[in-house]
């Protein structure tokens, strides 16, 4: 590949016309090929979403037992009440009717009613999703940036002290169970230890009773420890992938050419090597982006964060079938959407993709 062959991430937004060498042929043909590629990917995503919809319904119907028994566990209920619940939740209908009802309602955004919370599943998800996105989104931005930054540094100084330190620390933190690290951070930085005062709240997302800017600051205050925990255990993966991809690029001729032109080492790395090495990292970024929606059960549990991870755990413990299948659908959809987005972006990063 030549130095001109791949644009930077930002420049790629100028469109495929600027994105590469003449091997792509005339612009019209390229556009048609790209559109065909996009249509294929979107079609695949639509089929996957449909498969998820079907799977989410039937997978949880495989759980043995009567949902009404889960609903009323530990309570005295009359036969009349049991019959009422079956009608209320549509469990008296044949399975095919339940399925068609589920699909029909799902298309309108109605994912059913939670057994334990007696609230629309979509409402429970809407309550928890912003909280999860705040936590995982913030952590995602930070660990991705940190991972790419340290990964490129490590690769560039391959074998050096900083490389060994970086990769060693990243691997160590990556191996640490997140809930254990979270508890450790609570003990040290929340309760306080020795000369370290207790700086942060032990759990939750807010103290309550605050409004406006005070509320924003309060949430930020609660956000720090869980975010630090997530960043610490997650950045290593991005670092290692980035480092590995960049090491593959290091011996390329175009980098020698760039250096021969007298460019600063810093520029050679950032402008030439990194963009060409980003493809595996971009894949990982989008996979992680899809995962952010699912929340992080362990970290959310340790820090009592009111997100989707905790909701999923509560749903499974009943099991609250409508909530479980609704969350499963949302999680799987997020991954499909993000993977599709990644697929659509690849050709802009590397014109050889999708031809």
């Amino acid at each position: 590949m030549t130095a001109e062959a791949t644009p930077s991430l930002v420049e790629a937004t100028d469109g495929p016309a600027q994105a590469g060498p003449s091997v792509r042929g005339p612009r019209a043909r390229t556009t048609t090929a790209y559109l065909r590629y996009v249509a294929g990917k979107l079609g695949g995503a639509a089929v996957s979403l449909l498969a998820v919809l079907v799977t989410s319904f039937f997978l949880f119907r495989l759980i043995p037992g009567d949902p009404v028994k889960y609903m009323t566990g530990g309570r005295q209920v009359s036969a009349g009440q049991l019959a009422y619940y079956r009608v209320e939740f549509g469990l008296d209908l044949p399975l095919w009717r339940q399925f068609t009802d589920y699909c029909g309602k799902a298309l309108t955004g109605d994912l059913g009613t939670s057994y334990q919370f007696r609230a629309p599943v979509i409402d429970k998800i809407s309550e928890a999703l912003p909280n999860t996105l705040l936590l995982t989104g913030t952590a995602f931005v930070l660990y991705t940036a940190l991972g790419i930054f340290l990964g490129t540094r490590s690769a560039w100084r391959n074998g050096g002290t900083s490389d060994r330190l970086n990769t060693g620390l990243a691997l160590t933190l990556y191996s640490i169970p997140s809930f254990w690290l979270g508890l450790l951070l609570i003990i040290v930085f929340s309760v306080g230890m020795g000369p370290i005062p207790g700086l942060f709240p032990t759990g939750g997302m807010e103290s309550g009773g605050k409004e406006g800017f005070a509320y924003v600051l309060d949430v930020a205050h609660h956000l720090i420890l869980p975010v630090v925990t997530l960043v610490a255990v997650e950045y290593g993966q991005t670092l290692l992938v980035t480092r590995s991809a960049l090491l593959d690029e290091m011996g390329s001729d175009y980098l020698t050419t760039a250096r021969a032109k007298g460019l600063r080492d810093d520029l050679v790395r950032r402008r030439h090597a990194v963009p060409n090495a980003l493809l595996p990292t971009v894949t990982l970024i989008f996979i992680n982006l899809g995962r952010t929606v699912a929340g992080v059960i362990l970290v959310e549990t340790v820090f009592s964060w009111p997100g989707l991870g905790g909701l999923f755990y509560q749903a499974l413990s009943v099991p609250d079938l409508p909530l479980v299948q609704g969350l499963f659908f949302v999680f799987a959809s997020a991954v499909i959407v993000m993977n599709t987005l990644a697929d659509l972006i690849y050709p802009l990063l590397d014109p050889r993709v999708g031809r």
Binding site: S8, V10, P64, G65, D66, T72, G74, R75, Q76, V77, Q81, L82, E88, T113, Q116, F117, R118, K124, A128, A145, L146, I148, F149, L183, I186, I187, S190, G192, P197, G198, L199, F200, P201, T202, G203, G204, E206, S207, G208, G209, L217, D218, H221, H222, L223, I224, V228, G262, L263, R264, L267, R271, H272, E300, T301, F303, S304, P306, G310, S317
Partner: protein, 623 residues
């Protein structure tokens, strides 16, 4: 010149990104600047917060709210909160659990035992200023009787009601289908009719959209965030007197170690545990200054239940319980094979009492224990003799065999989420093994299915007992069996014993407390003799609170009892703030915020300047 090499000022560089991130973290970290940190010791905080006038009692709980509607809620946290929001007709005395006035000042049965007349107090007002009357109570019960959606949580209380009326604002009349001794124990929150009559669908209305929520209990619910917290303020017009704290907050901690850390820090005033603090947590808190661990008799029993041969009301048997367990001598032998003292010492580490009768000793009116001659005490040798006498002798391999010749290997249902089940299971395995009986522990996340299908031999079982024991007694009657094998009954373990049922019916129709208690004790004795329910322990309520935030708080029973999850509102209503106490708080001070922001800005500016200088590329750097 290659355009890639042109400096691009508009492009965010990774270094700058990282720096910005670091600065952002610094900024938020500054919210807790050491100039005014959240103190490590609540004592230090005491003097700081004494300046604040607001006294907040924060309770760390291990559950979230399922619903704020008293018609739907079933979780302990939710029902405990409803106790604080709404008055019930009656309450239980914190000293000895006997029934005391609530919304009703008096309740009397008719001569034929089928009509109860309650006198409703005239000094209870809803928090919106309106009078609470008998009409509210009648409306509440009638709604539950006529709307299945409204019967979700407490429908069992009204199944025996024929008619409920309110002839006057202070008179409530309940007519029954048959006599019912539990009419002083109707644990149903009475709601304001003028608010709730607007609700269209009781099965979906969660009472969590409009605050403050109108009630007439000791507290008024003012704020709620799902999966986060519930805030309540004192009801200044509560007829019994307003609570002493300015605010009561139930804060949800998903992880109990984090909740304990929050207590240690002073961020919460009380921690309840899940359902109690573990021995390790209690031990770690015992030496802490300003923390009191309340280790008191609990309201639960912990048992090993036997599958007596699952059956339905239609007489059909189902499931696959071991045939040998149908033999009473075998069941009694299993009682004698279990060393309760070891379980209390080793598994519960002293935070429990050895099990005896079915109802825990804290309910002194109904507690029963076997006489010395009746007791099935730990005696492995006698257990072996009983098994031999029952015809289940050891074979050449030292294994006892069923009548069909197969070695006995009992499957014990165990809750995968309960460490006690697993630990006790190992002991049971060892003790039964010495008798020549095999044990397979089936530890499952969801034991409901095999349990209801009767596909087990033994099961770890446990219930919280109410001051009125009717419910825990009723789950062992023939009437609680499922109608057919496909149905769900209210039965706990498919027990159906004619003698037990006769006693149950008698006690339910007995309105004299002493006579009823005697009948209940006879039922417990019968249950003990049958060997169906081996009560191994009564786990303690182990909880802790900060004495520098809570000066005094009432347990139930008063002498020694629990604070969280009481049958009444006594603990939170009676709690008195410590003199030097402010609030449990995790908030950050405005000084800290300002300094944090300043620090963050300084870092941002510094980092920006550093990179700007480095970016001044020389001519040599450019083509």
């Amino acid at each position: 010149m290659n355009r890639h090499d042109q400096p691009n000022r508009g492009r965010l560089r990774p270094r700058l990104l990282a720096a910005a991130a670091a600065a952002a973290l610094t900024l938020t970290a500054g919210l807790a600047t050491p100039l005014n940190p959240v103190p490590q010791q609540a004592q230090a905080k005491g003097s700081q917060q004494a300046k604040e006038s607001k006294k907040v009692l924060t309770v760390a709980v291990a559950q979230s709210v399922d619903s704020l509607s008293p018609f739907l809620a079933s979780r302990l946290l939710s029902t405990s909160i409803h106790r604080l929001m709404y008055e019930y007709l009656t309450n239980y005395d914190p000293a000895d659990n006997h029934t005391v006035p609530g919304l009703a000042t008096k309740w009397e049965p008719s001569a034929d035992k089928l009509t109860w007349t309650y006198t409703i107090r005239s000094n209870s007002t809803w928090s919106d200023g309106r009078q609470a009357t008998a009409a509210d109570a009648a409306w509440t019960f009638n709604k539950m009787m006529t709307d299945q959606g409204a019967a979700t949580a407490n429908g069992s209380f009204v199944t025996n009601f024929r008619k409920v009326t309110a002839p006057s604002p202070t008179q409530l009349v309940i007519e029954l289908k048959k006599p019912q001794a539990t009419m002083g124990a109707l644990d149903v929150p009475i709601v304001p009719q003028h608010i709730w009559e607007k609700v269209k669908d009781f099965s979906k209305f969660n009472n969590d959209q409009s605050f403050p929520i109108v009630g007439n209990g000791p507290f008024v619910l003012t704020d709620y965030k799902p999966d986060s917290y519930v805030r309540l303020k004192p009801n200044k017009t509560f007829w019994r007197g307003a609570p002493k704290f300015d605010e009561l907050v139930f804060k949800y901690f998903k992880d109990q170690d984090a909740a304990v850390a929050a207590l240690r820090k002073g961020e919460v005033s009380f921690v309840a545990g899940s359902p109690a603090l573990t021995p390790a947590q209690a031990a770690s808190l015992k030496g802490e200054p300003n923390i009191k661990v309340n280790d008191a008799p609990g309201r639960r029993f912990y048992a090993l239940a036997t599958n007596p041969g699952a059956q339905a009301k239609d007489g059909k048997h189902f499931g696959d319980g071991a045939e040998s367990l149908l033999n009473q001598k075998v069941r009694q032998a299993l009682f004698m094979a279990i060393d309760r003292k070891t379980l209390v010492d080793k598994v519960f580490q002293g935070h429990a009492v050895e099990g005896e009768g079915y109802i825990p000793p804290r309910f002194s009116t109904y507690h029963w224990k076997p006489s010395a001659s009746q007791e099935l005490a730990y005696d492995p040798a006698k257990a072996a003799q009983l098994l031999d006498a029952a015809g289940y002798k050891k074979n050449a391999d030292g294994k006892r065999v069923e009548k069909n010749g197969k070695p006995i290997d009992y499957r014990i249902l165990c809750h995968a989420t309960d460490p006690n089940d697993k630990a006790v299971g190992q002991y049971v395995k060892e003790w039964f093994g010495k008798l020549g009986i095999g044990v397979t522990l089936n530890c499952l996340d969801n034991v409901t299915d095999p349990w209801l299908a009767g596909k087990y031999d033994l099961a770890f079982d446990g219930w919280s007992v109410n001051p009125d024991p009717d419910f825990v007694l009723s789950i062992h009657t023939c009437g609680a069996l499922p109608a057919t094998a496909k149905d769900t009954g209210a039965t706990d373990n498919f027990i159906c014993d004619k003698k037990y049922d006769e006693l149950y019916d008698q006690q339910l129709a007995e309105y004299d407390t002493a006579k009823r208690a005697d009948l209940v004790k006879q039922m417990e004795s019968r249950l003990y003799d049958t060997g169906y329910m081996n009560v191994m322990a009564y786990p303690n309520a182990v909880e802790a609170y900060r004495t520098d935030q809570i000066k005094s708080i009432e347990t139930m029973p008063k002498a020694a009892g629990n604070i969280y999850g009481q049958d009444g509102y006594w603990s939170w209503w009676s709690a008195v703030p410590a003199d030097a106490s402010g609030a449990s708080s995790d908030g950050s001070s405005s000084t800290g915020v300002i300094i944090g922001i300043v620090a963050g800005v300084v870092v941002l500016v510094g980092v920006g300047a550093f990179f700007a200088m480095r970016r001044r590329a020389t001519a040599e750097d450019r083509e």
